[in-house]
Subunit: 307 residues, 2 copies
Amino acid sequence: MRLVVLGAGAIGSLLGGLLSEVGEDVTLIGRRAHVRAIRSNGLHIDGVTGRRKIKVKAEVAPSRAGKADLVLCTVKAYDTRAAAADARPLISKESIFLCMQNGLDVEKEAAHEIGAEQIVRGVTNNGALLVKPGYVKHTGLGDTLIGCPDKKWRDKINELVKALNSAGLPAEITERIHDIVLSKVLVNVGINPLGAITHLRNGDLVKNPLLKDLMKSAVEEALRVVDKLGISIVDGDIVEKTFKVAEATAPNKNSMLQDVEKGKRTEIDFINGAIVRIGEEIGVSTPINYTLTALVKGLELSAANTR
Amino acid sequence: MRLVVLGAGAIGSLLGGLLSEVGEDVTLIGRRAHVRAIRSNGLHIDGVTGRRKIKVKAEVAPSRAGKADLVLCTVKAYDTRAAAADARPLISKESIFLCMQNGLDVEKEAAHEIGAEQIVRGVTNNGALLVKPGYVKHTGLGDTLIGCPDKKWRDKINELVKALNSAGLPAEITERIHDIVLSKVLVNVGINPLGAITHLRNGDLVKNPLLKDLMKSAVEEALRVVDKLGISIVDGDIVEKTFKVAEATAPNKNSMLQDVEKGKRTEIDFINGAIVRIGEEIGVSTPINYTLTALVKGLELSAANTR
């Protein structure tokens, strides 16, 4: 299968690199320094799946990658639309555009540029870190779940799932991808902005009674939006799940905190901001998520001011 | 009049120093380094009221100050109770304990230690900065307003007001001190935590539409608590006033942001936290102020963790 990874940072390089190792025809599209390092020294992956050096194609410009059977999109949520536009030369009627990002509504962003029927949603629970250009650390092994909105994509998605599994990455097709995305977003709703604002690691957030209560309140408020939409989450008690995820990742600074510390834009608009937006549309008030969203946008502004 | 300033930091040293210069018998109670500097080199005041060096008594231990006609309390809101306990040796039946701090309910804190009938509330709108031990900068001239809860204190408070005026500090007795305190707190509700969390200066908060809207929402939510208490604020449109204060102090980092940047405890419990507490007591929901309070407490925890 001809695979193009759009936005090959940590997670995209990890998936693309390991898929290339098991024989898929992969091209990584990434930043110049990363592409240059991979071209001259290969892609180095170290961590929970062992240490290896992989020879894989890498390009800066998507247009140089040629037509793809499947485009794996791992750009930041807010870059989705621009990335999808750049990817148009890669896409034929037979191509899948697989959104593997965090956040709600990334498919809608992609659908501005690419036919909605070609867009597939996935979620990966692997953890990865770009240590330096060309070097990825696989920090946590997790499952990868992929939806299949149309029967005609089943063979291709099955092929991808098999390739991931043979690369040592547990993966499967799921009927309830939207439920899974939503439940991951709800966990992020509770953890991400709290860490980003207080600079506390995940474990410290749940150790503090006030912040643990705020985490609960933020998730419950988002659940009221989800309930009103008529969606019932199969994933059990999401508040408890949020606490468990924070405890299981106690020493981690969440991705939004990492973005804030680097002075980068965050994905708040696709997490708490999306809850506020949907809440407004369906008439559910979301003062806590509104406050969290505005404050994180303020932190982004503050970082931009000091650049 | 024998005046003791309890918690002579920037504002306490400014008021005490200028009162001493016009002939009042003043003792400043402050931190060791500040007291030592004042004893060896005098108190230096520079800024909007000119530059001078003042010889004024200074002590670390309140007990060494002797009985006071009036204790001027300018400690941080959260230190009020401890300061009032320390001040008991200074207090006779004829002494006034004047709370000149920011925040709601500081009188209640003092009343744990000192007879409620001796406690008087005041507000000062002067700005001051402790540049280094012994050196205070008077950054903004503002009025000082003092309540008079009991006729028997009127002569003494009048004497203080006259002394302040002759020291070049506009001051007056007011019938509506609680209204004035509340209106100052409501402005702080909108400005302080937003600056503390985003690290933005006051002017940048109102320039950003999202943060300006959050400022408005936080103040309006607090006003619903005030309304339910049956208090009508005479000070006009408090939301507009908050915007105006932020614009008038555009280049400033607010005091809560200064505390956060120094890794110090903030006065959040006496500002937004007090609104949440009162809201809970009277059944008015305050999700925005609750979120802001928990986040600022998280920032305090974060600073404590890195100490």
